[in-house]
C-alpha cells in the first residue's frame, strides 16, 4: 500500500505510458518459448505434410500400381497382387536394352558435362575478375530461364540436314543417340557448373598459393589440392545431370530418331498403350538405379560435405 501512495496523483489521470524498461508481456511467445515441441511441430508440420504427400505417398502409389495388372480384354486394371510386370521387364530383351541404353546416355552426358564444367567453373571462381564472374554466372543461368522445348527444338534445327552444324563444316551426327547426348549435355550443363563453381568458391585462394609456395607446380596443385576439395561439388553436379537424363523422354523424341529411352516406354504405357501398371514398373528402374548409385556414393563419403 505504501508503494502506491508514493505515485503522484497527477499520474493517475493519464493513460499508463508503455514501459521502456523491464519485460514485455507476450503470452503467446512465452508459451512457444517454453513448449519446444509445440514450436517444432508448428515449424515443421507444413513442409512435412508436403513431403509426405509428394514423395512418400506418390512413391508408394507407384510401387502399388506396379504390382497390379491390366485385363487385356476389358483394358481395366486388375487390382490383385502380381509380379507379372517385373517378370516381363526381366524376360523381355527390349526393356533390358532400353534400360542399358538410358544408363549409357546418362553416363555419357554426365562425363561430358563434368569435363566441360570443370574448366568453366575454375575460370569463374578463381581467374575471372568479380565483374566477369557475375556476368558468367548470369550467362550460365540464362539458358535455365528459357523453355526446355525451345532449347531442344533449336538443337533439332542445328542438327537437321542442311542445318547449322553442317554449315559450320563440323557436320551433323543426324538424329540419333549422339544427338540426344549432345542436346542433354547442353541442357543440364548449368546444373553441373553451379555446384562445382560453388565448391571452388569455398576453396580459399591461399590454399592454392600455399601449395605453390611449398613447391607444387600447377598440375600438382590441381591434382592434390583442388580436385579432392571439389569431389562433393562434382558429385552433386553429376547426380543432377545423371538423374535428369535418366528421366528425360522429350529430347529423345525430338532429336533421337527412332531410339527410345525408359521415359518413352513409361510415357507410351501410361498413355497410348493404356497399361499403367507396366508404366509404373518401368518407372521403378530409374528409381532403383538412382538408389543404388546414391548408396554407392554415400559409401565413399562424398555426400557428407555437400
Amino acid at each position: 500500500m505504501s508503494v502506491t501512495s508514493q505515485v503522484p496523483d497527477a499520474r493517475n489521470d493519464q493513460a499508463p505510458a508503455p514501459a521502456l524498461r523491464g519485460p514485455v508481456a507476450r503470452p503467446g511467445s512465452r508459451l512457444l518459448h517454453r513448449m519446444v515441441w509445440l514450436r517444432l511441430s508448428l515449424l515443421l508440420s507444413a513442409p512435412l505434410a508436403w513431403m509426405l504427400l509428394v514423395y512418400v505417398v506418390a512413391l508408394a502409389a507407384l510401387l502399388i500400381t506396379s504390382l497390379w495388372s491390366v485385363d487385356s480384354l476389358s483394358s481395366e486394371i486388375d487390382r490383385s497382387w502380381t509380379l507379372d510386370n517385373f517378370r516381363t521387364l526381366a524376360e523381355n530383351e527390349v526393356y533390358r536394352n532400353v534400360a542399358l541404353r538410358t544408363v549409357g546416355v546418362a553416363v555419357a552426358v554426365t562425363v561430358i558435362d563434368v569435363a566441360i564444367a570443370l574448366p568453366i567453373a575454375f575460370y569463374m571462381a578463381k581467374v575471372a575478375t568479380p565483374r566477369a564472374r557475375r556476368m558468367l554466372v548470369v550467362a550460365v543461368l540464362t539458358p535455365l530461364w528459357a523453355s526446355y522445348l525451345v532449347k531442344v527444338f533449336s538443337w533439332r534445327v542445328v542438327l537437321s540436314e542442311g542445318g547449322l552444324a553442317e554449315w559450320t563444316g563440323l557436320g551433323s551426327p543426324g538424329y540419333g543417340l549422339t544427338a540426344v547426348v549432345i542436346t542433354q549435355a547442353y541442357i543440364w550443363l548449368p546444373y553441373v557448373i553451379l555446384p562445382i563453381f560453388a565448391a571452388l568458391e569455398r576453396v580459399p585462394d591461399s590454399l592454392l598459393e600455399a601449395a605453390g609456395d611449398l613447391g607444387a607446380p600447377t598440375g600438382m596443385v590441381l591434382r592434390s589440392i583442388v580436385m579432392p576439395l571439389l569431389v562433393p561439388g562434382i558429385v552433386a553436379g553429376a547426380i543432377f545431370s545423371f538423374s535428369l537424363t535418366m528421366g528425360d523422354y522429350i529430347t529423345v523424341n525430338i532429336v533421337g530418331g527412332a531410339n527410345q529411352m525408359l521415359g518413352n516406354l513409361i510415357f507410351i504405357n501410361a498413355g497410348a498403350a493404356n497399361n499403367l501398371p507396366l508404366a509404373a514398373a518401368i518407372a521403378m528402374i530409374p528409381i532403383a538405379v538412382m538408389v543404388v548409385l546414391l548408396t554407392a556414393i554415400r559409401r565413399t563419403g562424398a555426400l557428407e560435405n555437400m
Binding site: 580459399p204 590454399l207 600455399a210 609456395d213 613447391g215 607446380p217
Partner: protein, 357 residues
Amino acid sequence: MSLSTRAPAETAAVDTPAITLRGLRKTFGDVVAVDAVDLDIADGEFFSMLGPSGSGKTTVLRLIAGFEQATAGTVRLGGTDVTRSAPFERDVHTVFQDYALFPHMSVLDNVAYGLRVRGLKKAERRDRAQQALETVRLGHLGARRPAQLSGGQRQRVALARAIVLQPRVLLLDEPLGALDLKLREQMQVELKQLQRELGITFVFVTHDQEEALTLSDRIAVFDAGRIQQLGTPREIYENPASAYVAGFVGTTNLFDAATSQRILGVAGEHAVRPERLRLSPGSDTETPRADEVRLDAVVVETIYLGTGNRVHLRTSEGVDLVALEQSTGSLDTREHRGDDVTVRFARADVVPLASGS
C-alpha cells in the same frame, strides 16, 4: 638430420643479403600498392614490415613470395634475380594469415606436403614431418585433421609445414593476427626462439607495432606503399623520422610547427614520448631549468592501466598531451580529473621530425 643446423656452405656469401629489393613497384589498376621500395634484408635477420592495412606491406611480402608480379623493379633472393619466377621456383616459404592448411589432409600430411612435392620417399617424409611437428611441440597431433585443432595449434602446423623444407627465408603474413592476446604473447616468444635456433631469415608482416618492436632486429614502417622509415626498433621508437612514424609506433605527443615555436621555442615539428613527461601536483612558480620544458596543465582524464596510469592533460596554452606514469607502489600517485599539475620534460627528449610528407 637436424632442422636446427644449416651448414655455412649452403648459405650465400656473407655479404650477399638474403633478400634484395630494388625500385619495387606494384600497381593494381590505378591503385599504387607499392612504390619505389628499396630494401636489403640480411641473412638470419628478423625483419618486420609494419604499417596499417593498405600500406603495401603485405603486397611486398607477396612480391617476394612470387604470388604477385612486380610492375617494375627487381626481387633478388641470395643474389639471384627471381622477379619473374613462379612461387614454386623460389627458396622462400610463407606462413599465411589464415594458415592455409589443406583441410582434406592430416596434420602430418600437411607438413609433409612440400616433401612429397620434392619426391622424397614416404618413410623419410614421415620422419622429417614428425620432427618438424616436434619442433613446434605438436608431435602428438600428426593424425588429426586441421579442423580438429585450435587456432594456436593450426598456427604451429603452418610453421612446421614451412620450416620442414629448411628455407633460407620464411615469410610470415600477420601470423599471430587471429590469436588471442595471451596466446599471441606466447607465440611471439616461440617465434623468436625458433628463428634464432634455425637461423632462418624471417620477414614478418604486422600491423601491431608492439609486436614489431619486441620481435624484430630491424623494422620497415610502411605507409601509402612506401617505406617511411627503416631502422632498429630503438631507432624507430626513439628517433621517429616523421610525424607519421611517431604517431604509428607507440603513442606520442606531436607538436606541429606553430606549437613547437610557441612552447618549445624551436622551429619545425617535434615529438615527445608520453613516458618522458613528468608530472607534479599544483602549479610551479620556480623558473624552469635551461635543459627542461615546463608547462602548466589540467588533468582531463586518468586511465588506470595496471602497470601505471595514462594521464590525458590540457596545458594552459590549450595543447593536449598524454603522459604515462609507471606505478611505483605508492597509493597516492593517481591524479584526478580537474587537478592542476605541472608537466616537465627534458629538451633532450624532444625529437625533431623531418618536415614535409
